[in-house]
Symmetry: C2
Subunit: 217 residues, 2 copies
DNA sequence: AGAATAGTGTCTGTCAGACAGTATCGC
DNA sequence: GCGATACTGTCTGACAGACACTATTCT
């Protein structure tokens, strides 16, 4: 009988937020080994006695970084192999999560770890482990879904204008869209509910919308 | 210091093949506990000393069932939790694989396990563990890719006719397509290479095609 | 009034579905 | 010739991109 070697199982999370026309991702300056003092995506070891699923583990990891419940945490893919973590053979399941723009300051600061919003398309730091690849995979997944017509309503406040929605989509896709075409598509969408409220801005007020009940990203 | 409990890490594979207008999936009658004598998707425990990645583990598992190298093995998603396997907290990474139709008889028979091709949309057996959910997820992933315009060339022989390709796509999507529109799309695709060969059938010979070098599903 | 932002109307080229028509084989 | 299958041509309605136009607010 061979000795059974257990792989290390962990979760990593790319938490996205769109702010100021930038697709931002949360990065952490690691306090402990391995890769101490390097920047990385938030992550942690699976704790079977605490977590009832991998997604629950991802939410637990983020709960230490952000003080709000996240509307969406979904799987991207796995990364595995004997060399990607110095502790040995490891499996990491990558998730992505979306944070509403009005919650961007709900970060939980502590004295051990530094947290930072970084440009997801061009991170300011080189990330530890294979997290550069992981981030690229998460961004690609997000883009693919939006490109396929899904509306990233979880990135917006509860009530939002169509222009805010268009700016968010444009930021994710990295290109500008035609206002008329964009709004035409939205009219035949059952994901939006129009409200009888208007946002008072600097110019003409814009009608507010919210996500419909059955909406899912 | 808490005792660290390791989760069980395994891979399961939905191996697809399109034959006789049916989307077939390979199922195995399990020889050993747990779930002995029940039908299930082929799967196995990750062996870090043998596998250099989860995909490699999936390929190793299939190598015992099919005597040919598979052109495509790709990840679907993970299934995890304390209750899905009687042995305890487990993570299973689901893969799907495509087998060319002319290799459908390349199954490795043995006296321990029974192998069977089952209708993927309506399996003849109830599957063990959460494999009914897994199969549904794998079929959905396959459908989504084909619906998005990807060509499932790996399900066809090396050389194939456009009618064979159309029948395969129709089988996966579960609806019939217009011949003219289908071929129009293919003309602008760089995934196909037309050959100077023709298949001699019962009626007018059909031009043969193959997948281009850079093709990926 | 003028600037700025919200929202609508119209034109047009593209393209997918529908379907008819032609081509080439076996019998 | 006839049936069967491969392959092509044409029409048309739907729709996305482009862009001009109207509407409503603030200064």
């Amino acid at each position: 009988m061979l000795e059974i070697i257990y792989p290390l199982v962990s979760v990593d999370v790319a938490l996205f937020c769109v702010d100021a026309e930038r697709l931002q991702v949360l990065v952490v300056k690691r306090a402990h080994e391995p890769a101490a003092r390097q920047w990385a995506l938030p992550g942690g070891i699976l704790k079977p006695h605490l977590d009832k699923s991998l997604e629950a583990a991802a939410r637990r990891v983020l709960a230490h970084k952000v003080s709000v419940e996240l509307p969406l945490v979904d799987e991207v893919c796995t990364f595995s192999g004997p060399d990607r973590d110095p502790r040995g053979w490891s499996v990491s399941v990558l998730f992505y999560a979306l944070l509403p723009r009005d919650k961007i300051n709900a970060l939980v600061r502590n004295k051990v770890e530094a947290l930072e919003w970084s440009n997801a398309s061009a991170p300011g730091h080189r990330l530890a482990f294979d997290h550069d690849h992981q981030l690229a995979a998460a961004v690609k997944k997000l883009r693919t879904k939006v490109e396929a017509g899904k509306l990233p309503l979880h990135l917006l406040s509860e009530k939002f204008t169509l222009t805010q929605l268009q700016r968010t989509v444009e930021t994710i896709l990295g290109r500008s869209l035609d206002k008329s075409s964009f709004r035409r598509q939205l009219k035949s969408s059952s994901d939006l509910v129009e409200l009888d409220e208007y946002e008072r801005g600097t110019q003409r007020p814009a009608q507010l919308f919210r996500a419909s009940e059955g909406f899912s990203f």
